[in-house]
Structure formats: structure tokens, C-alpha cells
Symmetry: C2
């Protein structure tokens, strides 16, 4: 057969589904979405579904404009930040110079670059797993950085993001802020002064809506319009009517989400301290997960032990530098106390 | 700024939203989705949304396998047939020979080919607006045909689809069956004998779920797997959890959908006869819309008259051969009787 694309399938993380499991492998939020989301679903008239959802999602944009103090034209909405990022790659990275991103980061950047035949260069994180700005001064066709980065959890201060934008004024620099609500500060304040900045966000993590598929980008309206054109040329209605309706409800309940985000950060800090006391080393996370290791144990054995106890965490078997690390999403305080106890048991049983 | 994609934005049809309008411009279903869809929505636990939706949509595939008497491996599910078609273009049309499709057909084929830099050739429909099979014997990198075609509404018998497949054994031939439930016969029966056949379907039209965004392709599992790899490399979770749940409910209610499909076809036939009596000429439609013209009137004037009466239909201003045609979706019997009466009034007032 002619014309069939040869492609190595990207394998997403497993999605186990047992009633008593503790699922800490895909950085989902352990708390339910806002009660306003539930109310919106209950009030939704199913008959509406016979019509197409809106073009360009004005209600979601209006809610975001209010939230961020910007105009609706600063936003494009998509089916999760994955779709928004894919559209941004098609919109912005059409140079023969390589797209730059860290060698350890969200695994999808490389996948999209391959899919769209975009040349790219993966730049190694430094010894401390941090992004070294001076690597990003070389000739390039664009830059994408997750801040905080994943799966390291490390946050880069806004002053450094500003430097990065200043060093690269003639290419688009995407800052993927999937986990920003768990961190110190967003780069949104830089938008006014840096037209090359595009920020991508998701409702999957801090808004507890992974299953709803809503993400967005914000940036200079001139460039956002290019992404909108790509979306309109690919799948204009990708945000369905229920997703639009429920996303608006979520965006209008900052109070609830601030509360659960604070709880997750408190649990993260408690868990980090607790496991440090057990001899684990954790990178300093500003996300809802931590990357941990232990000098005296074979981490894959711990991985399988946790799995045997119905605790699912993430192991990156294909990343050499992470072969002795596990990424653990932060669940409820109760869940993390159970995990901490399992770690105590494991260390005792293995005489560490 | 370097690397910005130059793209002519695709402009989707308008989506007016007045309470008393008769909306016949985007081939939506005038009847609500199955009561089982409403029940599924009412029973949906909002808390589930904190988790990602499934990878590869096993529940939807199982429901489709039952419906079509095939295995789940014959199917890929996407965010509307638009997304599924976009993935199929990326999966199957990677040849330097041109993709072939009719010059008058679903406008998106050309848009995707442009977006993905796929060479293509648009082959003119014949005098009767029909697809001429002998045009499709030339060297090509793939073929896509909508059957029934849009916006003509014309259906091509399965025997001719079979011929098309036989003439082109070494490329993928996509049959876009968005409107097949309103027509005589699907090409599904050809799957066993023609591995080059891929059929794309949607729940937007006959299942009254345009706002939910669920479409699918069915074909030889070897080639469906390639589309699945593209999906996994673009946006693996594009079918959200509510869409999965409600689509399954719809797929399990053939009885309801057969009933409303029959009603729409009856109304279509009634409306076609009625307007023929008024001097209109309509192509013989096997869809939920008809393409009509009238020898004595300027069709754009009729378009604006209908619009002034809050009746929205579709005019294709950019297609030369359709400059004296309107595409009218079939609404409820009551709606179409109102439209028929408006046409009577219009002709009387204009002395035709």
C-alpha cells in the first residue's frame, strides 16, 4: 500500500481502574471538580447536543478574559493543552532552524516535532536537572519550555523566563504552564512586553477536569489568530458543548480551586519532608508531583512493590538519567499518608 | 517573527442562535438525541472528570463492534469525523502522487490537504453533478469520496464503490459516510474483500449529537492501527469522558434513531415534491439536506429573504457552479411546512 505513514506509536501511560487503587501516575487532581461544575452538568439540556458547539468558544474566552484581566482575543481554546500545543507547533515552528527544548521534559514535544517533520534539538538539563539558559542562545526556530518542568517539578523564576524571551526576540517562545497553579508565579505578566511569548495552560490538573479536555493558549492576539486559523483548518469544533459549559463553571469558581490547590501543596510539602526523613531525595517541586530517588534501593523494585499494593506511580524506563527515579503525583493527604506508611514498611522489610 | 505558518483561515458556516429561528444551514438533526443519552447524562458522576478519559475508547469501540458485527480493532474513535478524517489524511496520504477528490464535495478535504502539504487534484463533477469513475483511474496517492456526496446529496451505488476500490488496489480509498444513515446502503459490506477501504462516520448527523463531537473510522485493523498511532501522537484523549459515555448510550438505541431517521427522510421526500410543484429543481438527495435551484429566480435574493424570516440555509458563494443553488437541511415536518409556505409567498410576491 502506498502513502502509509511510518510512525512509532507514542505509548501513553497506563490507566488502571480499580476501585481501591491509589492512582498517582498521571498527575491528576485527587479532589473532585467544583460543585459549580456538577450544577452546570445537572442543568444542561441534552437536546442542545443536536446542534454544533460554538465556533471559537466565546463563553470560555470571556471567562478567561475576566480571570486574567485580558481581552478574549488573547485566548484560543482547545481539546486539552495537548491539542493546543499541537496547533501551536503547526502555527509557529515552520523554520529550517531547530526547535529547542530540554532533553528531559514533557515527552510529547518530541512526538509532535516528529509528527510534523519539525527539526529539533534536545538540550540536556544540567547536573541539578535544571534548564541552563545559555544553551538557548544558539540559532533556533523556536523554543518550548515547561515551567514548572515535568517530570522534574522544578520551577524557573520569571526573571529568567524574561531573559529567555529577550535573548530570542524573533521566534515564538512557548511556556507550557500546565502546573503553574501549584507554583510561585505565572509568566502572564510578561505578555505586554514580549510579543514572542505564548503561554499554554490546561484545566486538567489544578481544575480537576482531565476527563473534560479543555486547554488554552494566551498570547499576542496576532499570533493567537494564527493558532485559531490552524484549529479552524483542522477541527473547528474540537471543544464540545458540554466541555464549554462545564469549563466556564469551573473558571468562575476560583475560591474552590484555590482551596484544593493549597491543600495539594500542603500535602506535597508534608510528603516531601516525611520521605526525606526516610532517606529519599526529592527534587524541589512546584507542581502536584514529586520526582524522588533513594540512594540505597533499586527503584524499579519499589515501583513493583507499590503496584502490588495498588499504588500506581510513574517510572520512565526510556530516560536514562531517570532510571533510578519515580514520579509520584500528590493525592489526598490520606492517600499520601498511606503511601508514606508503605514506604516505611518497604524500607524495614528490605533492611534499608 | 520567524517560522509563523502563513495560512488562509478556513471560515466555518455561521452559527446563528435565535430562539425562533429555523436553522437549516449546517445539516444538524432537528430531533433531540435518544432519551438514553439524557439518562446517561443524568447518571454521570461529575467527580469522574478529575481522571483522564480512556485511552483508545474501548466502550465506544465495543458498542460499534456490536452494531456493525465487526471486532473492536476495526474502529478508531475521534473528536467528530473531522478529527478522524484529519488523522486519516496524516496516516494515509504521504505519497508524492496527488490525492484525488471531486471539485464539489466536503470543503474540508482541500483544507486538510493544504494544511498537511499533501499534493491533490480536484476532479470536476459531471454535468449532472455526479462523480465520474473513469476520472479516478489516473495515477494517484489516495482517494477520498463522500457518499452520499455533499453538498449535492447524490448517492453512488455500492457496485460503483466496489469498482473504484478494484481500480485502486494500492492506495487507501476513504469513503466518507457522514450521511449514510439517510441513504440506501453502506460500503461496510465491502470491508472483508477490500483492505484498501476505510470508511468514516459521525454521530453528528443521524445521531443528533453534533455538539458532542464523536466520529469514527472503520477499516482493516492494520491500517486503523496507523490512524490510532497518529491519534496517540497528536492528542490521545481527544474524546472526552462525557462524549464516550453519551456516545455509547446513543449507539445502543437503534430503535429511536431508526424512527427519527425515517421521519427526516419522509419530510425530505415531501419537501422535495412540494417545492418541485413550485418550479424548484432539487437534486435527488439521499441525505438530510437538498440542493435546490429555480430557473426564474436569483437565488441570493431568496437566501436573503429567508434570512429575513429567520430561516437560515447555506449558500456557497465561492463555488462557481453552485452560484444559483441553495443547500437546505431538512428540519422537522412542521419547520419544512413553514419554509414551503415562505417559498410560496416569495414566488407570489415576486410574480414567478
Amino acid at each position: 500500500m502506498k502513502g502509509i505513514r511510518k510512525i512509532t506509536p507514542y505509548v501513553p501511560g497506563e490507566q488502571p481502574n480499580y476501585s481501591d487503587m491509589i492512582k498517582l501516575n498521571t498527575n491528576e487532581n485527587p479532589y473532585p471538580p467544583s460543585p459549580k461544575v456538577k450544577a452546570a452538568l445537572n442543568n444542561f439540556d441534552t437536546e442542545q447536543l443536536k446542534r454544533y458547539s460554538s465556533i471559537n468558544n466565546p463563553d470560555v474566552k470571556a471567562a478567561l478574559a475576566t480571570k486574567h484581566g485580558l481581552s478574549p482575543k488573547h485566548f484560543i481554546i482547545g481539546n486539552g493543552s495537548d491539542e493546543v500545543l499541537a496547533f501551536c507547533f503547526l502555527a509557529f515552528f515552520n523554520s529550517s532552524d531547530p526547535l529547542l527544548f530540554p532533553d528531559i521534559t514533557y515527552g510529547f514535544y518530541k512526538v509532535w516535532a516528529d509528527l510534523f517533520h519539525i527539526p529539533y534539538r534536545e538540550l540536556p538539563l544540567n547536573e541539578q536537572f535544571a534548564i541552563d539558559l545559555k544553551d538557548y542562545t544558539q540559532t533556533n526556530g523556536g523554543i518550548i519550555i515547561a515551567n514548572p518542568n515535568a517530570p522534574t517539578g522544578l520551577f524557573k523564576p520569571i526573571a529568567e523566563i524574561k531573559q529567555l524571551l529577550e535573548m530570542n526576540p524573533d521566534v515564538i517562545v512557548i511556556i507550557d504552564e500546565a502546573y503553574i497553579d501549584f507554583a510561585t508565579e505565572s509568566a502572564v505578566s510578561l505578555l505586554d512586553n514580549y510579543p514572542n511569548l505564548v503561554i499554554v495552560r490546561t484545566l486538567s490538573k489544578s481544575s480537576s477536569l482531565a476527563g473534560l479536555r479543555v486547554g488554552y493558549a494566551l498570547g499576542n492576539p496576532i499570533y493567537i489568530q494564527v493558532v485559531e486559523s490552524i484549529k479552524s483548518s483542522f477541527n473547528p469544533y474540537s471543544v464540545d458543548m458540554l466541555a464549554e459549559c462545564l469549563a466556564v463553571a469551573a473558571l468562575e469558581d476560583d475560591t474552590y480551586y484555590t482551596k484544593i490547590t493549597n491543600k495539594i501543596c500542603e500535602t506535597r510539602n508534608w510528603f516531601t519532608t516525611s520521605i526525606s526523613n526516610l532517606g529519599f531525595q526529592a527534587l524541589s517541586s512546584q507542581t502536584n508531583f514529586i520526582l524522588l530517588t533513594h540512594p540505597d534501593i533499586v527503584i524499579t523494585e519499589l515501583y513493583h512493590y507499590l503496584e502490588s499494593q495498588d499504588v500506581f506511580v510513574r517510572y520512565f524506563s526510556t530516560i536514562d538519567r531517570l532510571k533510578n527515579y519515580l514520579r509520584v503525583s500528590i493525592g489526598t493527604q490520606e492517600e499520601m499518608e498511606k503511601v508514606q506508611q508503605l514506604l516505611v514498611n518497604y524500607l524495614q522489610n528490605n533492611d534499608k
